[in-house]
Structures are given as structure tokens and as C-alpha cells.
């Protein structure tokens, strides 16, 4: 049985950072990179959710292409030569994270997610010790209307993980994005207070997939908000096992 499955899956060979690796046809470059224990930063991508390709942190160089490609949204091809790290890529990744930090009010020292934040730890990993761009300091709302959870737009990076988990895993479709560019924001139903949403099931999945302190439980103090992500791979596995 196992042999049958193995033979029916087409495998590809490609080179990542000069190393020959094999993967299944249809795998993305990001999957191939991580299956081979190599690192590639992501913020919008999350195992168990559909690909968004919005954060642009997983951009890679592919030999023969002058453009950069999002590894999470690009399928592997036979003989492909991929470079996941270079001076150019590192420069862009730094710039992306610095721009995210400058766009809204990420005050790590007073954030409930201080010490448990993917944006904060990624900045440290990329060697960001200051932000070269002027901070925008926008005046943003904190939606405190839900009795158990809170949305702080100051900390939101618009990765849309919450939107996708709400639609794809919980099936509620409460969350969405309004506006464009720097005016874009997460909304509930028809842009009403979260606490007045008729579709929200209060499941809390959005809180746990949020990479920053934008979505949190209420009643947590600085540094106390830890996220639990284990439920998502578990639910995905159960759904694949019992379609």
C-alpha cells in the first residue's frame, strides 16, 4: 500500500542554496525549503490556512528570472535553482519589517505580546536595531466591545491570518479587510463593533493565529499574551484523515 502511494506521487528535484533536494510535485518552494530544514521567514503564511502571499518576506531568487518570487505561492519545478538568502534578499526583508514597524504604533515595551510576538522576534533575527524610516504614528482604534477578546489596530500588520482562519477553519466569515493601502483595516461583519457581530462564534481562533499583539484575550497585562497555534495543524490533519 505504502509503495503504491509512493510510486503514484511524482517527485521533483531542484537545487536550493546549492543543495540538491527532492519534493513532491505541487509542493511550494516554501514547503521544500522547510522540509529540508532550511530557514525562510514568513508572517502571513500559516500551515493549515490558504496561501496569501502578502507579507513578501519569503521572497526568493530563482536562477534565470530577474524578478523575486514569493516562495509560499510558487510551485517547485524540476531543475529549478533557488536562492533563499543573499544580500539583496536580506536588504528587502529588513526593509519590509522596518516599514511594518513604522506603519502603525508597535510599542513593544507596553504590548501584551511583548516577548511572544512574531514581528518582534523576526526584527531581532534580521538584526534590526533601529528603524530608518519616520514613524507614521497614526491614530487608531482599539475595539474593546467583545467581552472576551480585543482588537488593537495599533499592532495589526494586516497579515489576514485572522480573516482566513475565521472563514476557512471556523466557517464564520466574521472578519474581513476594509480600505486600501495604509487605510486598510480588519473589520467585523459590515464594519461594526466586534461585540455586536452576529456571526462571530467567539471561538478565539483569530486570537491564537495573530502573530502580534493585535488580537488578544482581555485581561492580560504586558507580556502576558501567549498564542496557542497547535490546534491548526491538528484540525488540518483530522480533516485530511476524515474528509
Amino acid at each position: 500500500m505504502i509503495t503504491q502511494v509512493a510510486s503514484s506521487v511524482e517527485s521533483l528535484t531542484l537545487r536550493i542554496n546549492g543543495k540538491d533536494v527532492s519534493c513532491r510535485a505541487g509542493d511550494t518552494i516554501l514547503q521544500a525549503v522547510r522540509d529540508n530544514d532550511m530557514e525562510l521567514p514568513t508572517l502571513c503564511w500559516l500551515e493549515g490556512l490558504t496561501v496569501w502571499g502578502g507579507c513578501r518576506l519569503c521572497m526568493v531568487e530563482i536562477a534565470g528570472s530577474p524578478k523575486l518570487h514569493a516562495a509560499c505561492a510558487t510551485a517547485c519545478q524540476e531543475g529549478m535553482e533557488v536562492q533563499t538568502d543573499s544580500d539583496r534578499l536580506h536588504r528587502y526583508r529588513r526593509m519590509i519589517v522596518e516599514l511594518l514597524l513604522a506603519e502603525r504604533n508597535h510599542i513593544c515595551s507596553v504590548c501584551v505580546s511583548n516577548g511572544h510576538c512574531e514581528l518582534q522576534s523576526l526584527a531581532q533575527k534580521l538584526g534590526i536595531d533601529h528603524v530608518r524610516f519616520a514613524y507614521r504614528n497614526p491614530q487608531l482604534e482599539v475595539d474593546n466591545s467583545h467581552d472576551r477578546m480585543r482588537l488593537d489596530h495599533n499592532r495589526c500588520i494586516l497579515c489576514t491570518r485572522c480573516v482566513r482562519v475565521c472563514a476557512e477553519v471556523e466557517g464564520a466569515r466574521t472578519k474581513d479587510v476594509k480600505g486600501r493601502g495604509v487605510l486598510a483595516a480588519i473589520i467585523h461583519d459590515l464594519d461594526q463593533p466586534w461585540g455586536e457581530s452576529e456571526t462571530c462564534t467567539s471561538c478565539g481562533k483569530c486570537v491564537n493565529v495573530c502573530p502580534t499583539g493585535a488580537l488578544t484575550h482581555r485581561g492580560v497585562a504586558v507580556g502576558e499574551m501567549t498564542k496557542k497555534l497547535a490546534f491548526l495543524p491538528y484540525l488540518t490533519l483530522m480533516r485530511e484523515a476524515n474528509p
Partner: protein, 188 residues
Amino acid sequence: MSESNKKPTVATVWLDGCSGCHMSLLDLDERLITLAGLVDVLHSPVVDDKNFPARVDLTLVEGAVSSEEDYRKARMIRSRSACVLSLGDCAVTGNVPAMRNCFDREALFERAYVENASHPPEPQQRRMGLPVFGVPPLRPKAVPLHQVIKVDVYVPGCPPPADAIWFALCEILAGRTPSITEVTRFGL
């Protein structure tokens, strides 16, 4: 005396911050004795001489640039220091002092000196409630130090741990640029 003159000179300055970074500096504990043997601290909130020296090798700056006084000091520090180190999140990012930036100054003063005053002044006295004498005017925004002057080394953290400050000082004294994110980060 002639020997001590050869030691690098250091100054530390406290702008718009809570002095936590200076507390963290004092948390070097017994390493302060080693440090005293390595450098001459000419000017600091913990040193008697209140005049900034004409020339200094390294200046550690805590706090954001928030008032006209901070701005003037920052420019003066740069012109007299060979190396400027941004110490802590307020100097590096603006941090808590910069949380006022999304409000204009009038709204801020109203909140601080009228709405939250324990004895709110009468409407005709409102202007008198605002401090105008003996305090430097507030600039429209509290900004990181590097938006005002060139900064050579950044040590983020709120406050940066003593170990991170020690690491940075040792690296600078050895003529190297510290890889600071190995030991500290924003918000630490």
C-alpha cells in the same frame, strides 16, 4: 593623572526617558569598577559636573527627543562626541514618549493639565493651568534620536539589560561595532 588622560572619555545624557536605562547602566554592579578603570566618565546624571565637556569620545543617550531642550542638547552632543550611542527604546524608537504623537499638543496639554488635574481650573484660568515658565516648549512629536542627529550605535531594550550595555561598551572600546541584536531587542 597623565595616564588617566589617555583613557577614552564617556558621557551619558538623559533626554525624554524614565531613567530606567541609567538604572540598567548602574546594574553593571561590580563591572562598574572595571569600567572606571577603562574609561573616564566626564558627564552624566550621576556625575557632579553639569557642563557637557567640549570633547568626548563616546556619549550614551537615553530618551527620545521630545522638547526644544532635548533637540538643542542632541545637536550639541553630536558636535562634541566622536561616537553617539542610542541607549534604550526611547532613544531608538521613540517608545512610550512617542505615544503622544498621534495627538496634537493642545489636546495633550488639555488632557494632562486640565482634564486630569485634581482641581480643574475655572475656564478663565485655563491658560494659567499650562506650564509655560521654566519648562522647555514641547516639540510637535517625540522622535528617535537618529531622526535628529547621526547615531553610530543602537542598543534597544526597555531598558537594555546590563549585560547588553556591557557587551556594547566592551565592543566599542575594542574598536568593533557590536552585533547588538544577539543580546537585546525592542521591548526587552
